[in-house]
Symmetry: C2
Subunit: 319 residues, 2 copies
């Protein structure tokens, strides 16, 4: 299995991406990586980190899409940028998936244009796997489409269910529609309309779910528009980081606190691992005719490694 | 200062509400409570808990609005229900504020109709105070209006800023517009339109903010539509409860865990108090010509006590 990794994408590219590549080689033994970008920028990091030469190689791309470049600009004027070359390799069948921590709007646009959409998909969507107490929950859309129609939401439901089934291995996953109350009549205009579509769909629809159900609910797939989903994703990340910071600050202040922390190190690390977004680092772009994972621009090497692992699982799930 | 408390509102009314009333009398020394509802349901609990007779009295209301009753039904047909009588007392000047854990849609509707709106307010909104790391953050709207126009969002900004200034004592509070990126052009159609209004307003507008900024951001007031705000509120509550549960389960399993927990009891309680929603238990209904706090139906006595405390602070802020 070969995966193209955008070597130039991310707030601290290429250093962090190359570190993430090595993390991925450790996490996923069967994968080979194609690191796309400027060889003169990438190769020093590969040497510095003593990358195993057989499993990772550099593929050149002369341009780089900036984090603020408009997707239309990237599509029209940066035809040899690293993210574009990643998808060109995927389209040509030279790699099985693409992972990028670069400009996410541009990555989505280039992915859709180069790979094309799956049949019956109007608009591809970005999913994110929330670490729930009852198991992972696929939330879709988390940012690809901000203004959505009811029929778009229904398509997101199908795409999320396919992902949950094929990649996460959840048979006939339960699907919920994110709203502000469980009753059918609750929601904004689009959600109320979508509720009618879901009720008569072939999905295993369990009705409306609420914000709290993203962590402890019965739905394995939660559908919302990309504005709401993106706000939720960043809220959850922000809250997790805020909690970690507060606990650390308060507990570090006393001797008892420091001793207690030592005793609790293993279970706290365990909780942190269960709920840490970095272990779910990467959002699959669903509905395109290929496999692509988009990482946060601030991704750590571990998050990039996780995204490559998820991409590999997706490739296996599709075959 | 006198506050009317809806004795019949909440999932476990009247028992929990009466316990909350006593909690409130302890927390707020200068307040007198008027407990509204069926005397035969309320008085046994008051006797059982040995309520101090001088500071709490029962005011009769013969009807009760169910948690699922439509607001229009409550307005038309339940003119002697506890929540209606609370607002009638407020309108007549016999109390300074209303607190209810009952049917929130009905409470909002009755509050608006009985009290009337403030000048220049088209639609009252529900606010919630998020416990941020940098201090409290007022989020508005969290559920009163699900489909909003750009000008409604601007009004929410003004109402939130007035609340932050008068009740929380924050001079010239910073205001942010909840979106999916900090750049001006990010957002859905309504948010992008609203951004233009905010930029030319008299508010201390700092631009778009993201989900993570609800906990650690620079904005003391965050504006969003009631659908997004309600999802965020329930997501944050759900995540906090999920984290507490996971930490408890994992840590209770080992001897070191139990010993460490003993050592960390004080700081962990401290963190929990800072971030626990029960200490912020109650959402002010902004834009009406009066003071009203709406509590979650599942509110604990402590949450109801906090709502009475916040209502008292609002009354002081207005005078």
């Amino acid at each position: 299995m070969r995966i193209a990794l955008d070597g130039m994408g991310g707030d601290q590219a290429p250093a962090v991406v190359v570190e993430g590549a090595l993390e991925a080689l450790n996490q996923v033994p069967e994968v080979e990586l194609v690191l796309v970008g400027r060889p003169e920028a990438l190769e020093p990091h590969l040497s510095r980190l003593a990358a195993p030469p057989g499993r990772i190689r550099v593929h050149p791309a002369t341009q780089v899409a900036g984090m603020e470049d408009a997707p239309s600009h990237v599509l029209r004027h940066l035809r040899d940028c690293s993210i574009r070359v990643c998808f060109d390799l995927h389209k040509a069948g030279e790699v099985d998936a693409v992972v990028s921590a670069g400009n996410s709007g541009a990555t989505m646009a280039v992915g859709m244009v180069v790979m094309g959409r799956l049949p019956e998909v109007d608009r591809p969507a970005l999913a994110s796997v929330f670490p729930g107490l009852m198991g992972p929950t696929v939330v879709v859309d988390v940012g690809a489409n901000v203004d959505c129609s009811a029929s778009m939401l229904l398509q997101f439901g199908y795409m999320g269910a396919v992902y949950a089934e094929q990649v996460l291995g959840i048979a006939r996953p339960t699907v919920g529609l994110l709203s502000i109350g469980e009753e059918d009549v609750k929601g904004n205009a689009v959600v109320k309309h979508a509720h009618e579509f879901f009720k008569t769909s072939a999905l295993n629809f369990i009705g409306n779910v609420e914000g709290r159900d993203l962590f402890a609910g019965d739905a394995r797939v939660v559908v919302c528009d990309g504005f709401v989903g993106n706000v939720c994703l960043k809220l959850a990340e922000g809250m997790f980081n805020a909690l970690k910071r507060v606990v650390k600050e308060r507990i570090g202040q006393t001797l008892a606190g420091r001793l207690g922390t030592l005793l609790l190190r293993a279970p706290l690390r365990d909780v942190s691992t269960t709920l840490d977004y970095e272990n779910y680092g990467g959002a699959p772009l669903l509905g395109i005719n290929g496999v692509a994972f988009i990482c946060h621009g601030a991704s750590s090497p571990r998050a990039i490694g996780s995204a490559v692992r998820l991409a590999a699982e997706s490739v296996r799930g599709r075959s």
